[in-house]
C-alpha cells in the first residue's frame, strides 16, 4: 500500500511540476503552422475580392455582380512597396477614389462603414498584421525591385514569399514565421544573379547589419 501511495505522490508531483513549468513559459509567438494571430480589423477588408483571381463566368455579363476577384495589382494600393522600406497602408481617399464610382456595391455594409469614416473625415484605424521587432530593418523596396522589376516574377508570387496567398483571404493573416531563421533559410539559397547586380554572390545578404539595426 505504501509503495502505491508513494508512486502516486511521485506521479502527481511530476505532473504538477510539468504543469507549473508550462505556465511559466512565455506564450509562443508562432503557432505550429506559423499562422499568426487573427487580427480584428475595423472593416473586414476583402483582399480576395480585390486581388483574387477572376471567375471565368463573370466576364460575360457586367450587370450581374461578379463572384471572383478583380486581380488588382498589390502595388496599386500598397504603393510604397517598390520605392520605400515600408509598403504602406493606402489612405482612405484611395478607397474612396474607386468606390465613389462603384454604385453597385455602395449599399453593402462594409462600404457603408467605409463612407462613414469618409464623412467623419477620419482615417481607418487599421491594425498591423505583419509586425517585425523594432530591431529589425526589413526593406520592401529591395525585395520588390529584385524579384518583380529585375527578375520579372509575378507580383502576387513575389509578395507571397513572405505574406502568403493574400488573394484568397479576406482580412490578411500572417502565414509565415517571419523569424530570423525563416528569413535566412531563403537568403542562404542560391538565386540566379541578375544582370544589374554588382555583386557576384548568388545568395541574399548574410550580414547582421543588413537587417539588424
Amino acid at each position: 500500500m505504501h509503495r502505491f501511495l508513494s508512486l502516486f505522490i511521485l506521479l502527481v508531483g511530476l505532473f504538477a511540476n510539468a504543469a507549473s513549468h508550462a505556465a511559466d513559459a512565455p506564450p509562443s509567438i508562432t503557432t505550429a503552422d506559423d499562422l499568426g494571430p487573427v487580427v480584428e480589423q475595423p472593416i473586414e477588408f476583402p483582399h480576395n475580392r480585390h486581388a483574387g483571381n477572376r471567375d471565368p463566368a463573370d466576364a460575360a455579363d457586367p450587370s450581374v455582380p461578379a463572384k471572383g476577384g478583380m486581380e488588382i495589382n498589390c502595388m496599386y494600393c500598397h504603393t510604397y512597396a517598390r520605392r520605400s522600406m515600408v509598403s504602406g497602408i493606402p489612405p482612405l481617399r484611395k478607397c474612396i477614389g474607386c468606390h465613389q464610382n462603384l454604385p453597385s456595391v455602395r449599399d453593402t455594409p462594409r462600404i457603408q462603414k467605409l463612407f462613414e469614416y469618409w464623412d467623419a473625415k477620419k482615417a481607418i484605424p487599421w491594425k498591423k498584421v505583419h509586425d517585425l521587432p523594432d530591431f529589425v530593418r526589413f526593406n520592401h523596396e529591395r525585395h520588390i525591385q529584385r524579384f518583380i522589376f529585375t527578375q520579372g516574377k509575378p507580383v502576387q508570387e513575389a509578395c507571397g514569399y513572405c505574406h502568403g496567398d493574400i488573394k484568397t483571404m479576406t482580412v490578411a493573416r500572417r502565414q509565415k514565421a517571419l523569424s530570423m531563421g525563416w528569413c535566412v533559410s531563403c537568403h542562404e539559397k542560391d538565386h540566379p544573379v541578375d544582370a544589374a547586380a554588382t555583386k557576384t554572390t548568388t545568395h541574399g545578404p548574410n550580414d547582421c547589419w543588413q537587417c539588424h539595426k
Binding site: F135, R142, E188, T198, K199, W209
Partner: protein, 285 residues
C-alpha cells in the same frame, strides 16, 4: 550572418583584414578628421546623440564613468613651460575606429560584433549578452555599456521626448554594448537608393551625423574603394595606407615625414579606418 554560416566560414570571417586575400570590391567606408580644422566645439558629439538615440546619463553617472557618448572630444594638456597653461590644450574627436583587424571582434563570445562586407565593425544589440570583453580589449575605449535600462527606468526620454528618437536606430536596453556605427542607417539608405538605380553610392551622397554637424568641415567620410572620393584622395595624398603594418612607409623615412596624416595606435596593428590629420597650429587656443 547566420550561425551555420558563421561556423562554416569561421576562418574567412576572421580573415577580413586588409590583407590581400579579401580586398574590398564595392565599399570600404572610411573617415578622415582634420585636427587643424577642428575647433573642439562638440557639435559632432551632440549630433551623434540626436541621430543615434544616445541616453544623456547625467552628471552623477558621468562621474561614475557610465557616459554613453559614441563620439567624444578627448582633452589633453601639454603644460611644458608655457606662459599660459591654457595654451597647451589639445583635443581630438574620438569614436569607434572601425578597425580592420578589430581586437573587439575576436573576443566576443557570441559573435555579436563582427566585420561587415563594407569594412564596418558591426555591433548587433540583440545578440550581445553583455560580457564587456570587447570593451576591455578595445585600445581606443570607444565602446559603451548600458548599465541601466535608460529608456524606462531613468526617465531619459520623458513623455514627448520619445518623439525625437530616430526610428531607424534601436533604443538599446540594459546589458548590451554599443558604439559608433558610422551611422549605418544612413549608409544602408544610401546604398539602397543607389542599388535601385543600378549604381554605387556617389561620393558625398551620404554623410555621417557628426560630419553633417561639423561647422568647420573637419570630418570627411566616404568610400575608400572609389579612388576619386574625397576620403580616398586624402588618404592617398597623406600616403596613409589601410593595410600598412606597424607604421606607414612614409614614417619610416629618415627624419620623418612632412605629411600630416596618421592613424592612432598604428603599432597595435588594428588597421583603423579613421585617419587623423595632425594639427599645424601650435595650440588650439
Amino acid at each position: 550572418m547566420s550561425v551555420s554560416n558563421m561556423l562554416e566560414n569561421w576562418s574567412k570571417f576572421r580573415h577580413m583584414h586588409p590583407v590581400d586575400d579579401a580586398p574590398y570590391t564595392e565599399y570600404k567606408w572610411a573617415m578622415s578628421i582634420d585636427l587643424d580644422a577642428c575647433s573642439g566645439c562638440n557639435a559632432c558629439s551632440v549630433a551623434c546623440y540626436a541621430e543615434n538615440n544616445l541616453a544623456v546619463v547625467g552628471k552623477e553617472k558621468y562621474n561614475a564613468g557610465q557616459e554613453m557618448h559614441w563620439m567624444r572630444i578627448e582633452r589633453y594638456w601639454d603644460e611644458d613651460g608655457r606662459e599660459f597653461p591654457d595654451q597647451g590644450a589639445q583635443f581630438i574627436p574620438m569614436m569607434c575606429q572601425h578597425c580592420e583587424a578589430a581586437p573587439c571582434e575576436t573576443v566576443c563570445p557570441v559573435g555579436a560584433t563582427n566585420h561587415t562586407a563594407d569594412g564596418l565593425n558591426s555591433q548587433v544589440y540583440n545578440r550581445c549578452i553583455g560580457s564587456r570583453y570587447c570593451s576591455a580589449n578595445c585600445p581606443f575605449k570607444v565602446r559603451y555599456f548600458n548599465w541601466y535600462d535608460y529608456p524606462t527606468t531613468n526617465n531619459v526620454w520623458p513623455d514627448e521626448m520619445t518623439q525625437q528618437l530616430n526610428p531607424d536606430v534601436t533604443v538599446r536596453g540594459k546589458g548590451v554594448m554599443e558604439k559608433c556605427t558610422f551611422c549605418v542607417q544612413r549608409l544602408e539608405r544610401a546604398k539602397n537608393n543607389a542599388r535601385t538605380e543600378g549604381r554605387l553610392v556617389h561620393d558625398g551622397e551620404v554623410q555621417t551625423a557628426c560630419q553633417q554637424a561639423c561647422p568647420t568641415s573637419a570630418i570627411s567620410f566616404g568610400n575608400l574603394v572609389e579612388p576619386e572620393s574625397k576620403v580616398a584622395k586624402q588618404w592617398a595624398h597623406q600616403q596613409v595606407e589601410l593595410a600598412a603594418k606597424d607604421a606607414q612607409a612614409k614614417d619610416e623615412q629618415e627624419g620623418g615625414s612632412d605629411l600630416r596624416g596618421y592613424r592612432i595606435f598604428e603599432e597595435l596593428r588594428a588597421y583603423p579606418s579613421v585617419m587623423y590629420l595632425e594639427r599645424v597650429r601650435e595650440s588650439a587656443i
